[in-house]
Symmetry: C2
Subunit: 422 residues, 2 copies
């Protein structure tokens, strides 16, 4: 222990200033607890990879090395393999976006794209606009470049355009480096930006000359309602991030970016500096998977699975959760967002929940400024329906303990009932 202290002292004060702002991910820190078999994980956004046919993928991986070994085992180009970019062009066309392969760069998951977009655009103090709450991995990636992240609240139709406009008016033209949005089944809120608001968002983007960064990991995982075209389909200036993690598997760490050519040129420079090039081994495997397997069926089966799990979670919430709680109704994706009475602190409650055998992610992880303490993100993607129901039951129990006192105070007139609480 003494030695550890000395080492610690030796290194303190040597790091770059940016590291002051980089926090550990609460989700990551929970992975330990979440892996105990008695604990039901409603925290991590892990896809149900067991629906991906393992033996088919094993054959595909074998083929990739046996038939394309000279390529798969070697360094590749920084922009990624042409064949995989062709697959991406096809996937994007199906969502309504027409692209050419040279408008696409393959990345190590969408996370690398978030990091590099921040790297090429953000000087310390630059403003970024995001939804509030927003994806914690984006906050983590951005934080290393020390921006001022302004969060715009959402309702059931996604980011509120009146509040965005007010913020843009305060900031003025080019007053932010970009507007970061997850329009489909937002992480963590689960809500979807309506078609009307998408048009409005792009109008505002043009009016204030601030580009939009569209992050769309879940767009293909819709189990209710009709497809809404990506922002990129409406405006070629939109920077769009996609990922294979949800339509195939996260273990290959493959995603992509499409952006205007000058941005892409800067992006490629930043990517060369970050890793020289992506994994050709993973890329050849993925391109073969999309060329040679019934991947659409797998995706359908995955989506059906997530839909059933969402149903299980929503009914369990209805049945077990206290009347003071409110939650969103996702039409796709992985997550439900729960809002609790403002005096509750979901961060402080977490250890108790783990004790009860269930995990979630505290809401303040999704804000840069400590907001969201009375909220939590629940993931329905990973646990089986019965486990979800049991998890929600356990969580309701933990909540109930805390709410008893609250109700007694309200009944005694000691504190006012919260506005809008059911």
């Amino acid at each position: 222990m003494g030695t550890a202290r000395v080492v610690f002292d030796k290194w303190e004060g040597r790091y770059a200033q940016r590291m002051d702002d980089v926090r550990s991910s609460a989700v990551r820190d929970l992975f330990g607890a979440a892996s105990r078999p008695d604990v039901i994980s409603l925290s991590g956004g892990m896809p149900e990879v067991s629906r991906v046919p393992t033996h088919t993928v094993a054959d595909v991986a074998h083929w990739a090395v046996a038939h394309k070994g000279a390529v798969a085992l070697q360094y590749g180009s920084s922009e990624g393999r042409r064949e995989l970019r062709d697959v991406i062009v096809e996937l994007m066309a199906e969502t309504g976006v027409r692209l050419k392969a040279d408008e696409v760069v393959v990345t190590a998951g969408a996370q690398q794209a978030l990091d590099l977009i921040a790297k090429i655009f953000l000087d310390p103090g630059d403003v970024v606009i995001a939804e509030g709450p927003t994806y914690l991995g984006a906050l983590q990636a951005f934080s290393a470049y020390q921006p001022d992240v302004r969060c715009i609240p959402m309702d059931d139709d996604g980011m509120r355009m009146d509040l965005l406009e007010a913020e843009l008016e305060r900031l003025g033209p080019r007053g932010a480096k970009f507007i970061y949005t997850i329009p489909n089944f937002q992480n963590p809120a689960g809500v979807t930006l309506s078609a009307e608001r998408r048009r409005r968002l792009l109008e505002l983007s043009r009016e204030y000359d601030i580009p939009v960064v569209e992050d769309d990991p879940y767009g293909r995982l819709r189990f209710e309602g009709g497809h809404i075209k990506p922002l990129r389909a409406l405006d070629p200036e939109v920077i769009y991030l996609g990922t294979f993690s949800k339509v195939f598997a996260p273990g290959l760490r493959l995603g992509w970016i499409t952006a205007p050519k000058p941005v892409l040129a800067k992006f490629i420079l930043a990517k060369q500096a970050a890793d020289l090039c992506g994994s050709a081994f993973a890329q050849v495997t993925a391109e073969r998977y999309f060329a040679a397997t019934r991947w659409r069926r797998v995706l359908q089966s995955l989506t059906k699975t997530y839909g059933e799990r969402r149903d299980a979670m929503l009914s369990a919430l209805e049945e077990h959760f206290p009347p003071e709680a409110r939650w969103t109704h996702p039409e796709g994706g992985f997550f439900v967002w729960v809002e609790l009475p403002s005096f509750l602190d979901t961060g402080a409650m977490l250890a108790e929940a783990v004790e009860c055998g269930v995990t979630y992610v505290p809401g303040d992880s999704f804000y840069p400024d400590g907001r969201g303490r009375n909220c939590m993100r629940l993931a329905f993607c990973y646990a089986e329906p019965e486990r979800i129901e049991e998890g929600i039951r356990r969580l309701a129990e933990a909540l109930d303990d805390r709410l008893h006192l609250y109700r007694a105070f309200i009944a005694a007139g000691a504190i006012p009932a919260e506005e809008g609480a059911a």
Copy 2:
């Protein structure tokens, strides 16, 4: 064309300041020319992956998904799989470094480690000490964090300790954030830091309280002379970067870092922000490769191949190159460094060389400040011996054209003969 100009104008002035310093890699830009079959590539440091038994690796990849699919296809931990870190511990033990698995983090090649080390340590203007010339990928990675890179010249025994000491004296204690060195078969110079200088380097590191970052991609590829222990074997405070790209295959993009615990904790935070986690698919494949195949034989065969190619290059240089040229004698690795009379500009000569059917990397790519213009890096790793000989012959021809005039001037006494030129 008109449209492209408008788009370009729209995005200019929006990027982060750091992007002003990030240049494209000359090596990367050459990949196009180098892939023409009539052009002999002496430029890229691509390993000879054809020596890696493709069908064995195909079986290994199949096994990874078929038997460990639930892990290989899923997100993993940020520090990398324990099983692969155990392989790394074993590899490091063979070079004389004793480690525990929790002192190791798996990275996306050593390049990611270079990027993240710079990210956690460097504020704009911070001094980094490196060899001159040094690895251009390191210069690229560092440049995004805007450091002041000071290059210390080398001789046949590596970085000159007298010049390092003089620089450290100017800078004072903690006057640089770290000293970056490639002690074995340096890229691009091909020279090796002697055992005596390794000890001296560590003394100076302690005296001036400046950590050493040891980058060791080629350490296992020695074809002449005895093994010299890594700096990390002599001092646990050394930050050591390793890679699987040369002992296995670059297409998996796997490397590692070992560093003091507090540094590793910061590093993991930066890695989470950069890509959440590495590819479990690649990691399971690699750990199986090292557990289940005769990888040592493959490595021996690879090393033998590189040794033969170095021999081919050194004899071809001896036979064809002009007497004014000097070059290094690498005992391992991939590269020979050639120094030409100072009036020659290898960057300006490159197009002509490609015309003659051969590529190399101009020397100034390996300096942050334009030095090295009269030098070139020649890679012997990738071309067959006969191709190397032919490539050197073509290059000598291109050189001869330029040297004719020089000799005529010297003969006429119009310019003095350069000191030291043979």
